[in-house]
């Protein structure tokens, strides 16, 4: 880590001789000691989950939400400085609302990620501001239906329009992760925060690219991965918060909503059982992990 003591790391926007913006790298440090948050892209929906470290016994269980609704079909979660996360959410909501007022149609997850990436990147160009201390995961479901213009009346021919290009599908799940530098990519599975390494390892095992994982299983996997990732944070209590977005035929009908209590608890119990299974794996026979595997396919 050359150039540490040489003053190149004191102001934002300044490049060190080896081309690094240290303020951004320090921002990533802030992200790394935040609670773990993950996103999983399933074939019929997307899941967001976060490991909320309980900082005080006085906090009301289930009250302090960290996963936010950006637009009806898009949710976002972030790890790192919570206030920066809230600012991110507020700006994302404005971007989604402004797109909707201009184009009278919901913003696609890709376009939202692009706008937020640009926004975060701006904070690395000037020394009068500091970069965002968060990495955000933005998940959405772009409608597979042909949406009318907001407010439009009338419907065109009952047999639908002619001349559509055959064989193309539209809409579907979107999962993007945006870093303090403003860099973002689309992912099948994304993880950030303290337990991101463990989480990413678990996500890779799921072979998400095959697009076989169903939303229902995705929710179970997300709970399990948060619990496994929590191992890096063993000394602190945590609370699991999960949200999901399904396609139009699924449980949330295209809208970003909290995972219902019963489904959340079921996933949590499975996750806990999985962890116990993993602890006595060395001593007992291997039926428990099999149960773990079953859950994975």
């Amino acid at each position: 880590m050359t150039s540490i003591g040489t003053g190149y790391d004191l102001t934002n926007s300044v490049f060190s001789p080896d081309g690094r913006n240290f303020q951004v790298e320090y921002a990533v440090k802030a992200v790394e000691n935040g609670g773990t948050s993950i996103g999983i892209r399933c074939k019929d929906g997307v899941v967001l989950a976060v490991e909320k470290i309980i900082t005080s016994k006085l906090l009301k269980v289930g009250a302090n939400k960290r996963i936010a609704t950006i637009d009806r079909h898009v949710g976002a979660v972030s790890s790192g400085l919570v206030p920066d996360g809230r600012h991110f959410v507020s700006r994302a909501r404005d971007e989604a609302a402004s797109w909707r007022s201009t184009y009278k149609t919901p913003i696609t997850t890709k376009d939202l990620a692009s706008r937020m990436g640009g926004y975060l990147q701006a904070y690395t160009l000037y020394s009068s501001v500091r970069p965002f201390g968060i990495t955000a995961i933005v998940a959405g479901w772009d409608s597979e239906l042909e949406l009318p213009v907001d407010g439009q009346v009338g419907s065109g021919p009952s047999i639908g329009s002619g001349g559509k290009v055959e064989g193309k599908t539209y809409g579907g799940p979107g999962l993007y992760m945006i870093e303090p530098s403003g860099m973002y990519w689309g992912y099948y599975g994304a993880a950030t925060g303290k337990g991101r390494q463990t989480a990413k390892a678990e996500l890779e095992k799921l072979d998400l690219a095959a697009l076989k994982l169903s939303l229902q299983d995705g929710v179970k996997e997300a709970a399990r991965i948060i619990y496994v990732a929590h191992a890096d944070n063993k000394d602190k209590e945590f609370e699991l918060e999960m949200t999901w977005i399904s396609n139009i035929d699924g449980p949330t009908k295209g809208r970003h909503q909290e995972v219902p209590k019963d489904i959340l608890e079921e996933a949590e119990n499975l996750a806990k059982k999985y962890l116990e299974g993993e602890d006595d794996e060395e001593t007992k026979d291997d039926d428990k992990p099999a149960e773990g595997d079953k859950m994975e396919e």
Partner: protein, 260 residues
Amino acid sequence: MNHLPQAWGRPRDDIYGAYDSSYLQSHGPNQHTQQPIVTGTSVVALKFKDGVIIAADNLASYGSLARFTDVKRLRTFADTSVVGFGGDVSDMQYLDRLLNSLDTEEAYSSSGHTLNAQNLHTYLSKVFYKRRSDFNPLWNQILVAGLDGESKPFLASADLLGTTFSSPSLATGFGAHLAQPLLRKVAPDEEAAAKLSKEQALEAVKESMKVLFYRDARSLDNYSIAVITKDGIDLKENEKLEKQSWAFADQIRGYGTQIN
């Protein structure tokens, strides 16, 4: 020759004459005085035991021309309320978009939907009143039907001036003159409305739509109707008017003596 910068690149007044700025608006508040162009006619609604029934035909007129016959003038909000729009269709569409953003803001809070029909009515009436006070009105009269804070049937009206009122039965436009008397026979007051069955209420509303089709020259025999109860909204958007009676026409003859 005028060398001042303001005159650069402008046609010379002495050759082309001074600029005629009569159409430019130079005085008073920015006048938005407008008039409704594409319009919807009456909206009719009636409270009953378990909720409210609201109906409106599917016509948008362009003056006297029955131009658009597939315009749905009932809009649901958050599966709890229905807003029926009379008056200018372009303003109806603006309000539709406004309700979309209101619905999105509702989704921001994790506690989900908190706005009942009464809150929606209050919100919309203040939107109307603000626009009216800016002399840039939303040229509509709307009925908001649904349930209030205590899940009791709620029905109220709001219009371009911001005037609001609530009653067991309501009707806008022509309906205020033709439908209200019929509905008031069935539900003269809150107690009577609270005893009405869904079937009785449906009958009264459908009867009103028929009478309006007879007498309102800007109406259509194809309408939408919604029944709102605590179990949700049952919205039908392509109902055909039935049981019309025109046969008595053969008893009527025109002016002057004629053989048959």
